[in-house]
């Protein structure tokens, strides 16, 4: 398997990179604009995070070549992501799951 790094490939990539650059700039402007539109507090947050995730995907996927990396790297990153989500989710869930006296609203 060629790892897509021959001169021809690189020239093709360069075009892609420029496309992504523009997409990222647009994404930035859209996030900012979206913040000035009132969609409801929760929706605003969701939208901003969605755009950020798309941008992150573009950077990681193409600038960092993650769409075509080796298995070793995928394995390492998959573990990392799982543990990161575990840390975040469990901490937050633990924060909300606390003993309460039923009915008395403490």
């Amino acid at each position: 398997m060629g790892d897509g790094h021959s001169k021809e490939d690189i020239k093709k990539h360069v075009k892609l990179y420029i496309g992504i650059f523009i997409a990222l700039l647009v994404g930035t402007v859209v996030t900012v604009l979206a913040a000035y539109v009132d969609l409801g507090h929760k929706m605003n947050i969701a939208l901003a995070l969605l755009i950020a995730s798309v941008k992150a995907f573009l950077v990681a996927g193409f600038f960092m070549h993650l769409t075509s990396e080796k298995k070793t790297i995928y394995t390492i990153l998959a573990c990392t992501v799982v543990f990161f989500i575990g840390l975040m989710a469990l901490t937050v869930i633990a924060h909300f799951d606390v003993p309460t006296i039923a009915g008395s609203g403490h």
């Binding site: 990392t80 990161f84 840390l87």
Partner: protein
């Protein structure tokens, strides 16, 4: 004796050493920033009502800085691509731009920081809070890092003057309006928001600049952005080295040099990636 696979990839893994190294390092960085993001979430859901400030950062500047970082991100891949194509001079230009972008980012960030250090919030004993620039008698210009404790210690001073801020415009802030505008007992305050106000020292409960101690929001803002800025500086130093003295390696071992540029680029993209999340989370939400 040379360690093998510094420039050519190892056949069975398909990777050269530094690439494994940098991805491992980035994995740990994900956990580092991940933990801080988790803390952000927890502090935010934990915040008592009305204590999580909104719209206190300068959005246009933040947007511009985002654009600067994104630009540096494209130039950094272009620098690598140029080397792959054997165009050393174009590499020099792209890499140079990247470093300039990093500098620009730092300069803008410092200006933003400076702004915050001279911007104040005053909590009055009657529950009202006001934000703005303050004047303290006997101090020239905008005071830096003034705190309630310091003010108490200044015996000659019995009052301060505050120039309140206009209302912030970010929509997501709508959910919890800043308290200054909520308190009913100062009905007229909104219209006269811009007029300077005299505040007696005895009425002040707490006073803080927009510094980490101001609130958990600013605490996490400064921690995250300062840590990020350290990464920017570190990355810029490495790239400057590879641009200058380090680039000699191009003549002796071009493949290894290209790898170094790729690896430093991966780090730089990660720094960019962190900012992509920091910007909306801190500035907009």
């Amino acid at each position: 004796m040379e360690v093998p696979y510094t420039s050519k990839p190892r056949p069975d893994t398909g990777l050269y050493n530094a690439k494994v190294g940098i991805w491992l390092f980035l994995a740990s960085e994900v956990m580092l920033f991940g933990a801080l993001f988790s803390s952000y979430i927890l502090l935010r859901v934990n915040a008592l009502e009305g204590t999580w400030p909104h719209g206190l950062l300068n959005i246009p500047i933040g947007t511009f800085n985002t654009a600067v970082l994104i630009t540096s991100s494209i130039t950094v891949v272009m620098a690598w691509a140029s080397l792959k194509l054997g165009q050393f001079n174009r590499f020099k230009i792209y890499q140079g731009i990247t470093i300039l972008c990093a500098l620009a980012f730092m300069v803008i960030k410092s200006v933003e920081y400076k702004d915050k250090f001279t911007h104040y919030q005053v909590w009055l004993k009657d529950g009202e809070t006001i934000r703005g620039h303050i004047e303290v008698p006997g101090i020239e210009g905008k005071p830096w890092f003034m705190t309630h404790k310091k003010l108490e210690a200044m015996e000659a001073v019995d009052h301060i003057t505050i120039h309140p801020d206009p209302k912030p415009h970010v929509a997501s802030a709508g959910g919890e309006a800043p308290e200054a505008h909520k308190s009913e007992n100062h009905g007229g305050a909104e219209e006269h928001a811009h007029e300077p106000r005299r505040i007696e020292k005895a009425d002040i409960k707490r006073l803080s600049a927009f510094v980490p101690a101001h609130s958990t929001y600013f605490a996490i803002y400064f921690t995250l952005t300062a840590l990020h800025a350290l990464h920017v500086m570190g990355g810029a130093l490495v790239m400057a080295y590879l641009w200058g003295p380090g680039s000699k390696m191009w003549k002796t071992d071009p493949e290894r040099f290209t790898n170094r540029i790729e690896v430093s680029g991966l780090f730089w993209h990660f720094v960019d990636l962190v900012w992509i999340f920091l910007f909306p989370v801190l500035y907009l939400l």
